[in-house]
């Protein structure tokens, strides 16, 4: 039932080739993916940002099993409804702030997918390679679009202590589209773009006048 990733040819949001992944994310499925691949994420994911990462890094017990799971770097705007909660807006926040914590959390908790924006550093890239994890970039600021892909909210952990934006929300999602920007071979799209653009910058600055 939760076999290897499904390869589809369906064009979604302009994608020619998109791999569909559904929770639980298996190591074998994750290891088939490479930088630049388009993915669609489905099933259960958890939000987490600064306070959750510090808590888990410091040895705090995760209230849920994150093994083969996904953490979404996101502080959503939530609205209370009669029966529970509804997502108003849920775009990604800058992932790099979690760089000091991420590698240990991947190792301790068995996280397979990180969703965020802007990418992460060498320690996370190395943990992704060693432990079989990917970083998926979603579009920063596309908060309503991403919020719409949430099909159910299964409550929140640490709501009282961390507040709504920092809480660990359990979300069911359908077709969260993103790009594998750091893969389980240790490659990082951000490193590649930074290096190429640095060369361009050097060339431009050499042109005087």
């Amino acid at each position: 039932m939760f076999g290897p990733a499904l390869r589809t040819r369906k064009s979604l949001n302009g994608w020619v080739n998109m791999t569909s992944l559904t929770y639980p994310f298996t190591e074998s499925a994750i290891r088939t993916l490479s930088v630049g691949d388009a993915v669609s994420l489905n099933g259960l994911i958890y939000t987490g940002r600064d306070r959750l990462h510090k808590f888990l890094f410091d040895g705090g017990e995760s209230p849920v099993d994150l093994h083969d799971g996904a953490i979404y770097h996101c502080g959503p705007v939530m609205a209370k409804t009669g029966r529970g909660w509804r997502v108003v807006a849920a775009g990604p926040t800058t992932s790099l702030r979690e760089e000091p914590y991420m590698a240990r959390i991947i190792e301790r908790c068995g996280v397979r997918v990180i969703i965020g924006k802007g990418g992460m550093g060498r320690a996370t890239a190395e943990a992704c390679r060693r432990l079989g994890c990917i970083y998926v970039q979603v579009v920063g600021g596309a908060a309503v679009l991403l919020g719409q892909r949430v099909t159910a909210v299964h409550g929140a952990h640490f709501l009282d202590t961390f507040g709504a934006a920092e809480a660990m929300w359990a979300l069911d999602v359908e077709h969260i589209e993103g790009v594998v920007a750091m893969d389980a071979q240790g490659r990082s799209l951000y490193d590649e773009v930074a290096t190429a653009s640095r060369m361009q910058l050097t060339r431009l600055l050499a042109l005087r006048g």
């Binding site: 064009s11 959503p76 924006k117 802007g118 579009v139 600021g141 596309a142 773009v193 653009s197 005087r208």
Partner: protein
């Protein structure tokens, strides 16, 4: 109130058009192309649902132009009330943190929040603009002091160019590219950033009145896009949508280049209203 709703939920037309026209330049099916498409799709959805374009509803800054001898404390109070209401309507996130305690200020109103800048002019009505700039792009704003040896940047426009290109490279995709740059050349550190940020209110089609600055604006936009950082830093042709320069007098010993980076979700709107009846006469931006 309506100004807050429009600013938070309705992306300005010039930004939307610019994203649209850049979409045609990106390779179909590439990360860059799909990111730009997602931005457009998101803008349309936010408008339809009256939902904030981005969950980071930004630092709230009002720029007022008022008739001489206006009592501005009343206007400031009204701005605060409107922010409270917009927060409870869900157009703004609870987005204000008490810095020392880390506690959330739930109504989004506190000392200096929202910020109000007033200019008194010979006019009979009021013009007010609201800018909502989020934390991701604010972190990418930068200030340089010339000369800068590492950039080999001197106290001239060539030096300014080196600073701006360096800032774009350093920002990569972190400021949610494609963004806009507001730049102040001169002034002091504090005022320099204020003037740089205010340039972000200018429409994308606007050029600096000074010809040498207008020329540099065009060149910097072209060259920044040649860096090929692309939308969200995933490579591509669309790295910036606009560069807005301004120059201000400086001290003999100081030459600052202050750069305000604004994300693609550039939320800025203005309105004109009667000074006595507050009746809206015109929407701007």
């Amino acid at each position: 109130m309506e100004l807050l709703r429009r600013t938070s939920c309705d992306l300005p037309a010039d930004m939307e058009c610019a994203i649209q026209s850049n979409l045609a330049q990106e390779k179909a099916g590439s990360p860059a192309s799909s990111a730009l498409q997602a931005m457009l799709e998101n803008a349309a959805l936010a408008r339809k649902q009256n939902a904030p374009i981005c969950q980071d509803t930004g630092m709230l800054v009002f720029y007022w132009k008022v008739p001489r001898a206006t009592d501005t404390t009343i206007l400031e109070k009204q701005a605060g009330e409107a922010v409270k209401q917009a927060t409870s309507n869900g157009w703004l996130r609870q987005n204000t943190i008490e810095t020392l305690t880390g506690r959330s200020i739930e109504e989004n109103v506190s000392e200096g929040v929202p910020a109000c800048h007033f200019e008194q002019e010979d006019r009979s009505d009021i013009e007010v603009w609201l800018m909502q700039k989020g934390g991701g792009c604010e972190n990418m704003s930068a200030q340089y002091s010339l000369p800068d040896e590492t950039l080999m940047a001197g106290r001239d426009l060539a030096g300014v160019r080196a600073c701006v290109l360096n800032a774009v490279w350093k920002a990569q995709g972190f400021g949610c590219a494609p963004g806009i740059l507001g730049v102040c050349i001169g002034s002091d550190r504090a005022e320099g950033f204020a003037v740089a940020k205010q340039q972000l209110l200018r429409p994308l089609s606007d050029h600096a009145a000074e010809p040498s600055l207008a020329k540099l604006e065009e060149r910097l936009l072209r060259e920044a896009n040649e860096l090929a950082i692309g939308p969200m830093g995933m490579a591509g042709r669309t790295t910036l949508l606009g560069v807005k320069l301004a120059a201000r007098p400086r001290l003999p010993a100081a030459f600052f280049v202050s750069i305000a980076y604004m994300c693609w979700a550039c939320r800025r709107r203005g309105v004109r209203a009667g000074a006595s009846d507050a009746k809206i006469t015109q929407w701007l931006g």
